[in-house]
């Protein structure tokens, strides 16, 4: 994937666009690369925190990719993990402070999971696998692509959990009151943590039966 020698490449060439779109489906960070599961599941009870979390992760991945890629020739390989951790935690502190200042209620709901973006495997995984070997612009696009790929799964999972678990979407009531009068009830199980795992498992199942080449060989 390295294109170090083609310096005059157009910024939005087909190759760069593929970096952006591949993580959305075929190379999705959660369902294919198995990165960043921890936070993906805990913040998906409601749609709003999930969207905020997805944006926060996208910003952190994109900018840490950019910074690491710019520094990649000066970072000594032996201490690279610590250097990467410092870059990532600086960005996370910035994001955390911004969230606390502008959307305080969401920041309370996310609690420790904003801090846990530091150890989110997506960030470290992309830094190690991509930013250390590619030019800044490609790394930046790759970061945005992976952040969005992560966000898509978060939004799908939280959509179903909020709709079936609380009957609302983004905080607005969508299941009409009449349904409840006829005996419809919100599924309390959807709000509980284990359902997130089962939903992601189902997404993996559907995704893999549509893309046969992703099926485990063993």
């Amino acid at each position: 994937m390295s294109n170090e020698n083609t310096n005059k490449e157009h910024a939005f060439s087909a190759k760069n666009m593929r970096l952006l779109t591949a993580p959305l489906s075929k190379d999705n960070p959660i369902t294919v690369q198995v990165l960043g599961i921890c936070s993906a599941l805990a913040v998906t009870v409601k749609l709003k925190p999930a969207i905020v979390m997805a944006l926060a992760v996208t910003i952190v991945v994109a900018f840490s990719n950019l910074i690491t890629s710019m520094l990649r020739n000066t970072i000594p390989p032996r201490i690279r993990i610590i250097v990467q951790l410092v870059i990532v935690s600086l960005l996370v502190i910035l994001v955390d402070q911004v969230l606390k200042a502008f959307v305080y209620d969401v920041s309370k709901q996310l609690s420790v999971f904003v801090g846990l973006i530091i150890t989110n495997c997506i960030v470290m995984g992309r830094l190690e696998a991509f930013a250390m070997a590619n030019r800044p612009w490609q790394s930046f696009i790759d970061g945005i692509g992976n952040g969005l790929g992560y966000g898509i799964i978060l939004v799908i999972v939280s959509f179903f959990r909020e709709l079936l678990g609380s009957g609302t979407l983004y905080g607005y009531q969508v299941i009409p009151e009449g349904f409840y009068n006829f005996g419809y009830e919100d599924n309390g199980l959807m709000i509980l943590p284990p359902m997130a795992l089962i939903l992601v498992g189902t997404i993996v199942w559907i995704h893999r039966s549509r893309n046969k080449d992703l099926i485990d060989k063993s």
């Binding site: 369902t31 198995v34 990165l35 960043g36 599961i37 921890c38 936070s39 993906a40 599941l41 805990a42 993990i81 610590i82 951790l85 410092v86 935690s89 600086l90 996370v92 502190i93 955390d96 402070q97 609690s111 420790v112 801090g115 846990l116 530091i118 150890t119 989110n120 495997c121 470290m124 509980l192 943590p193 284990p194 359902m195 997130a196 795992l197 089962i198 992601v200 498992g201 189902t202 993996v204 199942w205 559907i206 995704h207 893999r208 039966s209 046969k212 099926i215 485990d216 063993s218």
Partner: protein, 205 residues
């Protein structure tokens, strides 16, 4: 003493790192193919948690919290450095993992060979940083409590990874639908185990 035991038992079963908070899922999914390796990783995690949670507790209560630095000078009473906690905690964790690795290598080469590659990986395991952040959020009161909490969370994580590894070993003999094999079925089983662990939720100790 009883408080410590309560906190310990609570953090193993009720607040289980994997089933209640999904922390450390990445290595949980990646390393749980055999019981032996997952046992090694689990022990390493317990080890690092028991060391880092109390150290981060001390850093938090003597440097970062609002008014924590009064012991240096009265003029620091209004100083609140808690926004620095992420970077301090992760630095302690990265340094400690490195240190633990060197100590284990020097004194127990057998254990070092068994853990090998897993030790450095622990620095980026979310369960470790998560435990430190929960320690800060729940406002534990003493070093003893933080040791009990660290040990309990570690053992809870060890329990979870060994259990899923044992299930996955047996699973290789069963006929799972092809698209669900590997990652998919592991997710669903973890979900079912989480539901089983929820039976501990109502218990107050």
């Amino acid at each position: 003493m009883q408080d410590f035991i309560n906190l310990f038992v609570k953090s193993i079963f009720i607040d289980n790192m994997v089933f209640a908070y999904f922390l450390g899922m990445c290595s949980y999914l990646a390393v749980s193919k055999t019981v032996k390796t997952s046992m090694g990783l689990g022990i390493a995690v317990v080890f690092v948690l028991v060391i880092t949670v109390p150290i981060n507790f001390l850093i938090d209560s003597y440097f970062l919290r609002k008014g924590a630095m009064v012991w240096i000078s009265e003029s620091f009473a209004d100083l609140d450095l808690s926004f620095l906690s992420f970077i301090m905690f992760i630095a302690v964790i990265a340094a400690m993992t490195q240190l633990v690795e060197m100590i284990v290598e020097k004194f127990t080469p057998a254990l070092y060979n068994a853990l090998g590659i897993f030790l450095p990986l622990i620095a980026v395991n979310c369960a470790i940083l998560g435990a430190s952040l929960f320690m800060q959020e729940r406002e534990l009161e003493s070093v003893g409590e933080s040791v009990a909490f660290g040990l309990g969370s570690g053992i809870g994580w060890l329990l979870a990874i060994v259990a899923i590894a044992a299930i996955r070993e047996k699973l290789s003999y069963s006929n799972v639908p092809a698209p669900l094999r590997g990652l998919g079925i592991t997710f669903i089983i973890t979900g079912l185990m989480g539901i089983a662990f929820m039976s501990f939720f109502g218990i107050t100790i």
